[in-house]
């Protein structure tokens, strides 16, 4: 009972946050909506027996990524703006979003909906998490770090060009 109440409250908050991100015209409010959504998703992870992942979701997304986004928007001077329509970019964005939505729907109808399966103590612990990260998922993990390194080098190159 308590579980259901907390779940629906948090899920509702995540939903509202996501909608705010998409529809609010003020960029600062939109970023705050996304921050609220990421924190709520962190809480959902905690409820799914992975408190470690939930807390790291908060540190990385709400505490770092969203703060940087907010910082950049504030430094540039936020302005309210309407949606852009009709460019090639927006059409491609809509198309990609539609594909993603279809994929989500497919996942949803495939998955079994029922009471949460019981898990043992070790599930979601830091030990299990770290072990999986450096053994089974070592390659994706390294690929992700390579991607981040590439992004970092790109950022340095772009800012260098601006200085000169």
């Amino acid at each position: 009972m308590t579980f259901a109440v907390v779940f629906f409250a948090v899920a509702f908050l995540a939903f509202i946050g996501a909608l705010t991100l998409v529809f609010h015209r003020h960029p600062v409010i939109a970023v705050l909506g996304m921050a609220a959504a990421t924190v709520s998703i962190g809480v959902l992870y905690v409820m799914l027996h992975v408190p470690f992942l939930g807390l790291f979701q908060m540190i990385v997304y709400a505490g770092a990524v969203m703060v940087i986004a907010l910082y950049v928007i504030m430094a540039l001077g936020p302005e309210e703006s309407g949606p852009q329509v009709g460019t090639v970019q927006t059409v491609l964005t809509y198309l990609a979003s539609l594909l993603f939505l279809l994929h989500l729907y497919r996942v949803l109808i495939k998955s079994e909906i029922g009471p949460m399966p019981a898990v043992d103590e070790a599930f979601g612990s830091i030990q299990a998490f770290g072990g999986a990260l450096v053994s089974r998922y070592a390659v994706p993990f390294e690929l992700a770090s390579l991607l981040l390194l590439g992004a970092m080098v790109g950022a340095v190159v772009l800012s260098r060009r601006q200085w000169q």
């Binding site: 600062v28 409010i29 705050l32 921050a35 924190v39 962190g42 408190p51 470690f52 807390l55 790291f56 908060m58 540190i59 709400a62 505490g63 770092a64 703060v67 940087i68 907010l70 910082y71 504030m74 430094a75 936020p78 830091i126």
Partner: protein, 349 residues
């Protein structure tokens, strides 16, 4: 007392005790700040309200309460009203995972002295919540609609983000050494056995990085550039008045208390004293004594915070960034690699 009430009532009592202690602590730290600064400058300090000025925090509180709450014309009102709460709230909820003593036994029941006693991810929780505290500063500065506020907010945010790395790495080296995120286990690892010492001796490098970063994280001098009054008036809280300003003030001091508790738990043995065992004093008095020892250590840390503030001049902004990124961050990485190498080659002593 059965079922859920056996959990809820003790938790509620503990929350009340902690809020009372922390809020009183905040009030009297502001007085201590003024008294110690007066002492260091050969003045008397506040001495009108009550004996030795002891009622000064009460007078200040009443004054804040009756001041006009001003919203500037250019402010973005909903965020402007929310920002002070976002500063104070994270500062207070961090105490949920900070253990403040061993445990007390009342009427045959043993209660661990922490609001969330079973939490084995205390350190991660503390880092997660403190990484949120920057929202209050950023939003306050931006929503005020004033250039000084915005400058202060941008300074504050970049400072907090830069120094969080040092804090994280210093904490991680302790975690690597002890193999746990649990405050109780880390405290237990520092006392009560042959060769177990407070971590500020074996982990001196981590201790230095952590302590310096904590000063930047709490926006205290010598790193108080977000509110550097000689350059940007009051920084991110320039436009605030009355109770909303008081909330920023309380948030800053509550953050100091949290930071002190963090230092005490990680590097100064928590509530333990060398050569003293709390079992000697019985289950009730031993527990209460451990609580007193813990809060006394925090008080010493707060005194050092104040001492540093009235001794050192303010950094220049580029010096602050150089210190954070070119000195402390490599030092923290070096320390982390050293600890990891030691563990790989020698194992735990």
């Amino acid at each position: 007392m059965t079922g859920i009430w056996a959990i809820v009532i003790p938790a509620f009592v503990k929350i009340l005790v902690i809020i009372a202690v922390v809020m009183t602590g905040v009030a009297y730290t502001t007085l201590a700040e003024r008294k110690v600064s007066a002492w260091m400058q050969d003045r008397k300090g506040p001495n009108r309200a009550g004996p030795f000025g002891l009622l000064q925090p009460v007078a200040d509180g009443i004054k804040f309460f009756f001041k006009e709450d001003i919203t500037p014309k250019e402010a973005y009102r909903p965020i402007y009203l929310l920002a002070p709460l976002l500063t104070l709230f994270p500062a207070l909820i961090t105490f949920a995972v900070i253990p403040f003593g061993t445990s007390v036994t009342v009427a045959g029941q043993t209660y661990p002295l922490a609001i969330a006693p079973g939490m084995n991810l205390g350190i991660v929780y503390l880092l997660a919540i403190s990484s949120m505290s920057v929202y209050g500063i950023l939003l306050a500065g931006w929503s005020s609609g004033s250039k000084y506020s915005l400058m202060g907010a941008l300074r504050g945010a970049s400072q907090v983000i830069s120094y969080e790395l040092g804090i994280g790495l210093a904490v991680l080296s302790i975690v690597l050494w002890t193999g746990t995120f649990d405050f109780n286990a880390i405290v237990a690892d520092q006392t009560g056995g042959w060769g177990k010492v407070w971590f500020f001796i074996p982990h001196f490098l981590a201790f230095v990085v952590f302590t310096v970063s904590i000063f930047a994280e709490t926006n205290r001098l010598p790193f108080d550039l977000p509110e550097g009054e000689s350059e940007i008036v009051g920084g991110y809280h320039t436009e605030y008045s009355g109770l909303r300003f008081a909330m920023f003030f309380m948030g800053e001091y509550a953050n100091m208390i949290t930071a002190s508790a963090f230092v005490v738990l990680l590097f100064f043995g928590g509530w333990n004293l060398p050569f003293v065992r709390y079992e000697w004093f019985g289950p009730l008095w031993g527990g209460l004594l451990s609580m007193v020892v813990f809060f006394s250590k925090i008080a010493v840390c707060l005194f050092i915070f104040i001492w540093v503030r009235w001794t050192l001049p303010r950094f220049r902004y580029d010096q602050l960034m150089t210190l954070g990124w070119r000195r402390l961050f490599p030092l923290a990485v070096l320390n982390f690699v050293l600890v990891a190498t030691w563990l790989l080659l020698r194992g735990r002593p």
